[in-house]
Structure formats: C-alpha cells, structure tokens
C-alpha cells in the first residue's frame, strides 16, 4: 500500500497547498505581470519597437526573480516548523522530496508566468508567431531557475544572511539558462540550436539540483 510514490504524492499535494496558501505563489506572476505590463510601456514611451524588443528580457528577469523569491522561504520554513525532520526520518530520500516540492512550486509560480507570457506579448505588441516558442522557453528556463533557486535555498536554510547567500549561490547557475533562453526567444530561426542547449541546461538542473538539495537539507537538519 505504501509504495515508493505515496510519500512523493503527499509531499506534492502539501507543497501545492502551501504555495497556494502562502500566496507568494500567484502573487509573483500576477505582480510581475501587472507591473511589467503597466510600467514598461510608460517608461519606454510609445516606441513599440523598443517595447517589443525589451519585453522578453523583462520577462526573463521576472522569471529569475520570481523563482529566487519563491524558493527563499520554502526550506527554511520546513526547517523551522519541524516538518523537515519528519521527512528526514522517513525512507524516501530527501532529494526526491525536494524535487517534488520544487516542481509543485514551479507549477504554482512558474507555470502561470509561462501562460501569461503570450498575453504580455499581446500587450507589448510582440509578433504572434513568437509566442509559442517564447512560452516553451519560459517554461523550460523557469524550471531550471526554480531548481537552482531551490538548491541555493536549501544550502542557505537556517543560516545567517541566508538571502544574500541564495542570490550569490544561485546566480552562477542561472546564467547559462538565461543566456540560452534569451537567445532562443530572440532568435530569428524557428528551432535555433540554442533551444537544444536551453533544454539541455534544464535537464541538467533537473538531474543534478535535486541531489544537491537533498544533501543540503540533510545538512540543515543536522
């Protein structure tokens, strides 16, 4: 009855609920969306060419920050309220728990941004043919961002100056994804080689970051 998947499913649902209850989940995409959609046109003035060129960059930054901010509190809260101890007692590796939780948070905070991207594109006057590729790039890139953000957050959980540390630790890992992602979105061909590199960097994050998180959380409870 237990099965190996049961704890993961439970962790997933709990994290979904948490992300939603904590509110930071939908806050950030919504806030970024509203903020970017209102502020960008105001500061850029009416030149739509610049607007359209700037929008993808603004979205990438929003995505990166959203992930950092969402993940910052995630593991620290688990550490403080004792929930992490309960996971650590069990047999399921912490790396898998961390993976599932991160994924749940991406669904709540990262995925909406990906879905909203076309609307933002519409407002900012980006050509419609760009949208599908852009949305997929934001999805993949966001996933990588959340995993690296989670890695930084798990290392910094329960530590003085945790926030600064997370930023410092996560930033180097964000950069390749951001480079490939931006190149994919702004490329003029339909399926640029950077798209594969973006996918590869996301896969790498998915493969490596959970183990890092698991080890870091083990350290945190100790």
């Amino acid at each position: 009855m237990t099965g190996r998947a049961a704890p993961l499913r439970a962790a997933f649902y709990q994290a979904l609920g948490e992300a939603w209850a904590g509110g930071a989940g939908v806050l950030l995409p919504a806030g970024f969306f509203a903020g970017a959609a209102t502020l960008v046109p105001i500061t850029f003035g009416p030149e739509t060419a610049i607007l359209a060129a700037a929008a993808p960059a603004v979205l990438w930054i929003a995505l990166a920050l959203a992930s950092l901010v969402t993940m910052e509190r995630l593991f620290q809260a688990d550490l403080e309220d004792g929930a992490l101890d309960l996971w650590a007692i069990g047999e399921t590796p912490l790396s898998q728990i961390a993976l599932v939780k991160t994924f749940a948070h991406w669904i709540v905070s990262g995925l909406p941004l990906m879905i909203l991207a076309p609307f933002l594109g519409l407002i900012l006057g980006i050509e419609a043919s760009y949208w599908p590729r852009a949305a997929v790039s934001y999805g993949l890139g966001g996933l990588a961002f959340f995993f690296w953000g989670g890695f930084g957050a798990s290392l910094a959980a329960g530590v003085r100056r945790g926030g600064l540390l997370i930023a410092l630790i996560a930033l180097p890992f964000y950069v390749p994804t951001a480079i490939f992602g931006a190149l994919t979105v702004t490329s003029t061909v339909a399926m640029p080689p950077e798209a594969y590199l973006l996918a590869a960097s996301t896969l790498f994050a998915l493969a490596v970051a959970p183990f890092g998180m698991g080890a870091a959380l083990r350290l945190g409870v100790g």
Partner: protein
Amino acid sequence: MTGHSLIETSGLGAMRGDRVLFTNKSLTVDTGEICLLRGANGSGKTTLLRLLAGLIPIEAGKLNVNGAVHWLGHADGLKPHETPRRHLMHWARAWGSDVDIDAVLVRYGLVLAADVPATGLSAGQRRRSAFGRFALEDRPVWLLDEPFSALDDDGQTLIAEQISAHCARGGAVVASVHGVSPLQPDREITL
C-alpha cells in the same frame, strides 16, 4: 517480550560549535522498555535524541537502531496553515496508512479543533496533533522530546497510557523529561 534490543549505542559523543556536549554515552533500549533522558537545560538531550533519530550525523561512537522511528521534537511539525485534520491526512497519505483519521482526532481530543489552522490552535492542541501521527502507523521506536510539555492533565495521562501500551506491544521509547513525569522508566540517563 523477547527483550532483544531496539537501540544500541556505544561511545556516542556530540559537539555543538566549539562546545563538547557529551562524550562516550552508551545506552541500550530493549523491546518493551522506556528510557528517560534527564539533564539540565542545554545539556544535550535534544541533541542525543536527534542523533538516535539519524537527524544528526554521528561523529563519534556507534549507533544501531533496529526499526522504524516515530519522532516528536520540540517543534510540532505542523505547517502554519495546516489544520489537525489535514496534518494527519497528509502524513497518512505519505506513510500509506489507512487509519481512520476521525477516530484519531476523537481519541486525541481534537474534535472541536479539527478544522482550525495551526496558527489558531492552542499549544496543547498542536502537541496533540503531533501525537496523532503516532497513531497512523505502528513503528517500534518512539523518540520523544519533552512529550508532556503543553499538555493538560488529561493529555498527559492519555500520552502516558499510549506509551505504556506501545511498550506492552514490544516497542521501545526514549523520552527527555524535566521534573516529575507520569512514566515508569526502565532506565534513566542523566546528561
């Protein structure tokens, strides 16, 4: 009760920062036994329990725990917005337990508070919810850090009974306590 040991340690030691908390602690807890940890504040009871639970890596000595562990720490493990019912449902799901949650809520006196989020619960109600986890799955080793704190007299009796019943079933209990306790310990260790 065959009396084989569920917990065996020898020469355990622990440091925190530069401070040596204890060295060379050996303890054995057999099935059916209750071991109480006593000691002044900051003497290392919590640290020893966390070592036994495998939460802290062992730096000195040997440790052998034969069986799954139920853990009750100073922190109750409830998320801020979790209600007692959701908390128990969550861990029942995680552990694949099909125990009747409502029955557990009744047994632990949480009926009125079953749907109050943790931020609204009283300290004792939070503690009772944490104890509710122990009813979800049968695990031989119970590690309890000040199990009676925040509990009223009924609650203390209830938990003491649960602990005795657990030992009667062949389980082992290690608990840290201060002052008088309603438990009849088989062993006592002072840190």
